[in-house]
Symmetry: C2
Subunit: 359 residues, 2 copies
């Protein structure tokens, strides 16, 4: 059961909620756009379904609605940004803009962020680089759900990586993926349906293969991209580790098992080695390497060649990263965004608390 | 059957062969060290076993032994380097040094390379950053053996990514992996043993799962990390694509199905869109983000915490990327490098051609 909502309606509700938290109009606008980009692009687990979660983090004072976001250290091509415990939805666009500004003057910009919170979908921030004729990169660590290869302990988050690359006549290449076999959102869908998960997604608390989509509640873990050692899970583990180190060890955020949890009721880990959650952003000016025209021509050639690659029987075409999300965004901007009942009910309760009716 | 060789003996043979090709003493030294780093670190498929292959590429004039390697475009933090068809083993260290020099002055350096050839193992070049207190990144495209998700056509190489991160008292974190489920070298080992490959490594020419380690000879393909769509092969495909675009579309090298093949007898693809093979290198100064001391202390904490994570039954410890290769290097530097008979025979034939006996 689901209900369809107009983007504008959800945007108004989100900004109003962020305002009630104490966010400035500017920050409420920035946060609502970042959050709803997930719903538009079909990554429902990371969108408005999490609004209540953000509010709860603010209620327990883990989110600061009026942060002083600042650069604390910099060189011509790098910066560390401190988010002052602000919403990641606000801190991340600030930091990505710093990366873009640095790229404008010296070719590339790289920003590591500490004391932030969850930032929505990585792809949204990476895509900020596209209108500037730049490649955008965004990654973040997250609270530990993933066991490294050979381990039964949750040590890494789903730690996504997004890379957005501009093209010419073709739409941009936009990869945005968790460094696990399956993102947590996919598991949530199976949980709602009471369906089994494929092997290679999760393990039990003892490290046995499991197809129980609820295994995490029993102490199990998500598995790194690859699934098991025979299918190179050590590569997914390495990718998640690189995201963790770039996002948090470079900046001074918490890393590994110490990353603060998203649910406000889950206690914070003890003996924190850093501040908040960490992100990492990059921007590379295309014309810092070759003329934008040449690059766009070859990028178009790359995309059309891959899209026309011979397919396996039953598949219409090879997908270019970003194709499904862009197509979804066009549909949902026009026809509206479906929200499942559980999310609608949750938003109604949230709205009542703030005297902001959600219909 | 194998025979053990002293590192110094192999080094002398390699430099002598490179000299015979016309390489300067300096270039022969650089190339031999880069090549043999693979043998030392246990990545036997990419080491001296390929020496004959490099010589054959020189014989058919695809490798230029006296290249004019040059920066053709640059900004404070970026450069494009043209390899002038030189050995990748020589071009890559040149380009990585440019990245390191740029990082020294403006925080980070990023170099895309065109008109190069195969560069050995990515990890060797990334590790060049470590003594400078920098994070090193290296990637390369390679001739197409990998089918994107939903495709039966070979469109990408095994396109490896290496990231080397310095630590304090702990050894550096060094990840170096192909963006496929299995590197080609692992397949070669199974081929020699006539053993079956696990599912998820390869598909037939029609896109069916296969366990035949020789399937590539029948028109089959390697699979991107993940293996199939249900296990997120689209993520491995995206990673391989990013490596291809950063290495070749940014620089002006060949990309996708047009990347020149390593075996000299395989004809070049037609209508090449660029020059040679492409690489991409990055260097990030640690103290462009935070003090080196702080970073090293937290990196040590990261490494010791992960290494002591609880293991599944039967596993002694969680491995930090780079641990096995570093341990192998210590053993092989001391006890020698084992070469299988086929490689020994191949090197003997090569030596005879150049009047350089290989015992």
């Amino acid at each position: 059961m689901e209900k369809i909502y107009d983007y504008q309606q959800l945007y108004s509700f989100c900004t109003a909620i962020f305002n009630k938290m104490g966010c400035s109009n500017t920050d409420a606008d920035i946060a609502a756009k970042a959050l709803l980009a997930a719903d538009l692009r079909g990554i429902d687990s990371h969108g408005i379904a999490r609004l209540t979660g953000y509010v709860r983090l603010w209620q327990v004072q883990r989110v600061n609605a009026t942060p002083q976001i600042k650069i604390t250290h910099e060189t011509p091509s790098t910066a560390v940004v401190t988010g002052d415990a602000g919403l990641g939805l606000v801190v991340a666009p600030f930091a990505m803009q710093v990366a873009i500004d640095k790229a404008a003057t010296c070719g590339t910009g790289w920003v590591s962020v500490k004391n932030s919170n969850h930032f929505g979908i990585a792809g949204y921030h990476a895509m900020m680089a596209l209108p500037h004729g730049m490649i955008g990169i965004a990654m973040t660590n997250a609270s530990a759900l993933v066991a490294p290869t050979f381990s039964i302990e949750r040590m890494l988050g789903t730690n996504p990586i997004a890379v957005a690359i501009p093209a010419g006549a073709e739409p941009a290449f936009v990869a945005d993926f968790a460094t696990t076999t399956a993102a947590n959102g996919k598991l949530e869908i199976l949980q709602r349906k009471n369906a089994a998960a494929p092997t290679g997604w999760i393990q039990t608390k003892d490290g046995e293969q499991s197809t129980d989509a609820n295994e995490l509640k029993n102490g199990g873990s998500l598995l790194p991209l690859g699934g098991d050692r025979g299918h190179s899970s050590h590569k997914g583990y390495a990718l998640g580790a690189i995201v963790d180190i770039f996002s948090a060890v470079l900046s001074g955020a918490n890393y590994g098992p110490w990353v603060p949890p998203f649910p406000a009721y889950v206690p914070m880990p003890e003996n924190l080695p850093g501040e908040g959650i960490g992100h990492f952003f990059g921007a590379m000016r295309i014309d810092a390497f070759r003329t934008a025209d040449e690059f766009k021509q070859h990028m178009d050639n790359w995309i059309t060649r891959f899209r026309s690659a011979k397919t396996v029987a039953g598949q219409a075409k090879v997908i270019i990263p970003g194709d499904p999300e862009r197509e979804m965004e066009a549909v949902r901007m026009k026809d509206g965004i479906p929200l499942v009942n559980a999310v609608v009910e949750d938003l109604k309760v949230l709205g009542e608390k703030f005297s902001l009716p959600f219909a």
